[in-house]
């Protein structure tokens, strides 16, 4: 058998957009500098797409996140499936009114008559010295808004399948891309690969402890689970894939089996997705727990610019391993 084709995360995003645009003429892209005349996007995700599909469907916008999201919402109400690019996740703060008060609420406030099928792609993550205003993981903010769907892939193949699913979904989806691992490669998916939203993925089965995560830490966890298996610690690994709506059943069923759980994310520790997952475990699997559920996260601090401090801020793979071992101390 020949080696599988490998693609980067960036190539995965491009593949999903390309396939979505080929499949549906109502899919349009808008964002800052995304057209080929402007360089095909600061991170080259949209490179080649305006040449292929025309500048009408791949629209470079002014530097106004409010206008980008507002225009996307309006176009979606008129029957299109816009995919808006927000260059850095921190910049979406400028468009919170559009996201929270309009995109997430119009379906409910119109009695189901006006769905908002937009996808917002955005990039973030600490570790490349972009500083506090370009690095935050804000997924919990949006997961706290009913009506929004929040999705974070952990492999290039999942990135293709989940982004396609977001674009085809009739609800507003926030699709978060990790900036640090954008050139990391993984196996390419087949064409037209789609992954259902709202379903977590039991990526590795195990009996001793469940590790729940999403996005970049999954890359640490895969290695840790393999290492620990050599010592006879059997780790079940769950990749949430969709943060909201959260797949409670998959989490709870796993923890009922293992009796131990660790939740890991890159976002700051407090008031985050980890807290929500821990709450649901204690609500629905308390009687099965052999040990307190532990959280691993980055520090409650602004992402620092200095390299040394940025590394100190970030969660570490060794923190995840230590948390797993700590839950194993309880018999």
């Amino acid at each position: 058998m020949s080696d599988p084709k490998m693609i980067t995360f960036t190539q995965a995003y491009t593949q999903a957009l390309d396939e979505a645009m080929a499949a549906d003429p109502n899919v349009v892209l808008l964002g800052e500098d995304i057209g080929d005349k402007e360089g095909g996007g600061v991170f080259k995700v949209t490179a080649g797409l305006s040449k292929k599909y025309g500048a009408e469907r791949v629209r470079t916008t002014p530097i106004s996140e409010q206008a980008i999201i507002g225009a996307a919402i309006g176009a979606s109400l008129a029957g299109m499936r816009p995919v808006a690019e927000i260059m850095f996740m921190n910049f979406i703060t400028v468009a919170m009114d559009q996201v929270v008060n309009h995109a997430a609420k119009l379906r409910f406030m119109s009695g189901g008559q006006t769905p908002v099928p937009i996808t917002i792609r955005t990039r973030t993550g600490a570790g490349t010295g972009n500083g506090g205003q370009h690095s935050d993981m804000l997924e919990a903010w949006f997961a706290h808004v009913p009506g929004m769907k929040v999705v974070i892939p952990s492999t290039p193949a999942d990135a293709v399948g989940l982004l396609r699913a977001c674009i085809e979904d009739d609800d507003p989806c926030l699709f978060i891309e990790d900036g640090v691992t954008r050139i990391v490669k993984g196996e390419a998916p087949p064409s037209n690969h789609k992954i259902p939203l709202g379903k977590a993925h039991v990526e590795r089965e195990g009996n001793d402890v469940t590790v729940i995560s999403y996005g970049r830490p999954m890359q640490d966890i895969r290695k840790i689970a393999e290492t620990l298996s050599q010592e006879g610690i059997s780790v079940e690994v769950i990749d949430l894939r969709t943060i909201s709506p959260l797949d409670t059943d998959t989490i709870v069923n796993s923890v009922k089996k293992t009796g131990r759980a660790v939740v890991a994310h890159e976002a700051v520790r407090s008031f985050g997705v980890g807290a929500e997952v821990v709450a649901r475990i204690q609500e629905y699997a308390f009687d099965s727990l052999k040990a307190p559920v532990l959280r691993v996260a980055s520090k409650d601090a602004t992402v620092p610019f200095a390299r040394t401090l940025e590394l100190e801020f970030l969660y570490k793979g060794s923190d995840i391993e230590a948390a797993i071992r700590k839950t194993m101390e309880e018999k």
Partner: protein
């Protein structure tokens, strides 16, 4: 106050629309009358409708959750 009223942007934009020949005063009156009728009908509809079922509190949050 009188100055503020004279500068009311809603009044001013109406004047501008008429003066620039985009629409006549009668046409604008007809648009307003049409919307007033729609609003009145919506109010009547709401007054004559039962309150929503309590189970509808989470209906239409998502298409397919």
């Amino acid at each position: 106050m009188a100055e503020a009223v004279a500068n009311d942007p809603i009044v001013k934009v109406r004047e501008q629309v008429i003066n620039s020949g985009v629409a006549t005063s009668d046409e604008l009156d007809a648009i307003v009358a049409q919307f007033e009728k729609e609003f009145d009908e919506a109010v009547e509809f709401a007054k004559n409708s039962p309150f929503p079922e309590l189970s509808e509190v989470t209906t239409d949050m998502y298409g397919v959750a």
